[in-house]
Symmetry: C2
Subunit: 335 residues, 2 copies
């Protein structure tokens, strides 16, 4: 089974028209959810399945499209309304096609506010909708104000406690970015680097030994920059090695380059990597030199000759089974 | 000849004691330069040469130690006094040992102020001290305030014009970092990623075709994250490829990991890479598993079997000769 653990919802334009309306009126009054009919939604999903089929994906874990999460918009009730509505739309898709989709929720994170609303939304999505994980945005101010403390800080502990209680992983993925020097796509990468170092220098995995965190896009800069963090680790005479620490986290394969994927697999080990494509998303571009889609990630991974069948099985399926047990429950509630 | 293009000044404690004094009194009144005698300075340099000899380095290009540049301190006259004094100390070292050192100046960058003082200091260091390049800090507010516009912005043009006029490269290297989520060492990496993308998406190399920019530490995240930027490039239907754009810049080998160095050489080409170690610096730690210094970068590069003699010659010397012509002038002013 080919499990794409990092993908985002494909929705009709009606969703984003409603987003425009919601922003324009600042959720005042709350406009209520838009009417997106079953037939239109089904047509959209069938288009998405064709894309998945074209690259051999059986199941996608779909979450809100991060750049559109609007975490930094005001007022908070707008952020809440939007994130909850998108989660509900994902739930409709996952319930309509349980053979193709699993739901991963966005959280209504706002600024540096306590995470109560996010914890409640995670619980609602898992218990009521059968979702299997959540996104975690390390910078809900989206580059335009102070971020909350790093992911190693106790600020995040209520969320981590709920994730452990529900046995769902979090995929670290920032949202948009209003900082003048960073596009959102570059902000993703920098936030992932900050997230990795903050987590690995913290007590989080001592305090939550069962916590499961996946870093998007192959871990930002950190696998490539491993040398300088090894040096800091040795110089500060910390126990073990930085390489061992790096393996406390998981990483997805949204890198769109064969050489980078090989580098990731060799650096963190195939037992810490989950297949992800975001298709359709950032990698949805054709390389004119080859005529191939950059986000046909399975084709790229399959072309890496030194990967064993066990390696590929881990990347495509078994690591996801270990990490996301709720994604593989049968109707009877068993794996 | 083994030319280490990225290294920082090794100075007696008297320098940093004077820094403490300068900060404590806010350069009010200007304390004047400290007395660091020739004998003490010579003793310090001899210690440094032993380190260079231990890893086979002939010449180091030495610049101010970035985390100590204090660009964000107030008032600006403190920043000016400190940067000018450190440059003058480097000049003393380079003049005392022209066989082992070349000077690379720090610039007295302050906040988002115009670069007049930096341009003047660059000219002074090149013309009066025979310096061969400069550091460029993309974020002189050191993570605690708004950075100037990205390096692709015309804000930087007066500096670029002077660099081209003098034919000296700039080494992109941020300084310290007061942002709560980033150590300075992680800030370096994120700032390098921002710098690469800002430069490559700008008109800088159209407007300054002879400008030479080196990105520290192997280019931050961007070589590893090349896939997503290839995709954006194709999707926006830009001319050429992102890989070609990446080769408008140079990168140094301060990565401290064999696998990362191999990745860099394969991704940007050995003709765009300059040997750098920062020894003594970030990589100055012994790996307990091997007993080797991580910043013995030449040993690591020499162990990469697929590099040809031409590749190694480029990395160790000839790229530096091309990029830093002033570093190889004879006493008669010829190469």
């Amino acid at each position: 089974m080919i499990v794409d653990s990092h993908a985002h919802v494909v929705a009709p334009s009606e969703l984003y028209a409603w987003q425009g309306h919601l922003v324009a009126n600042r959720a005042n009054p709350d406009p209520g959810p838009p009417a997106i009919g079953d037939a239109l939604l089904e047509e959209t999903m069938q288009g998405h399945f064709k894309l998945m089929d074209s690259v051999g994906t059986d199941v996608q874990f779909i979450s809100p499209r991060p750049y559109a999460m609007m975490h930094s918009m005001k007022p908070p009730k707008l952020v809440h309304a939007w994130n909850i509505f998108v989660n509900d739309l994902i739930a409709r898709q996952a319930k309509a096609h349980p053979d193709r989709y699993r739901g991963v929720c966005g959280l209504p994170q706002t600024g540096t506010d306590p995470l109560d609303a996010s914890v409640a939304e995670l619980e609602r999505c898992v218990k009521e909708h059968g979702f299997v994980g959540c996104l975690i945005n390390p910078d809900p101010n989206e580059g335009e104000g102070p971020a909350p403390p790093g992911l190693g800080d106790e600020y995040w502990y209520p969320l981590y406690a709920k994730m452990v209680e529900l046995d769902v992983p979090g995929l670290v993925h920032s949202a948009s970015c209003g900082a003048p020097r960073e596009s959102y796509t570059l902000h993703f990468i920098n936030e992932e680097s900050i997230a990795v170092i903050s987590l690995l220098e913290s007590n989080v995995f001592r305090d939550f030994p069962k916590l499961k965190i996946v870093i998007s896009h192959g871990g930002g800069a950190i696998p490539y920059q491993i040398g300088r963090f090894r040096a800091w680790h040795f110089r500060r005479k910390k126990a073990g090695t930085f390489d061992e620490l790096l393996r406390k986290l998981w990483y997805d394969t949204c890198l769109y380059s064969k050489e980078s994927l090989e580098f990731l697999f060799r650096t963190v080990g195939t037992d810490r990597c989950l297949f992800g494509t975001e298709k359709p998303g950032t990698g949805s571009a054709i390389d004119p030199a080859t005529g191939l889609w950059l986000d046909d990630v399975k084709r790229t991974i399959d072309s890496i000759g030194w990967l064993t069948e066990t390696d590929k099985s881990r990347i495509y399926e078994t690591n996801a089974r270990e990490l996301y047990p709720r994604a593989f429950l049968t109707a009877a509630g068993k794996k």
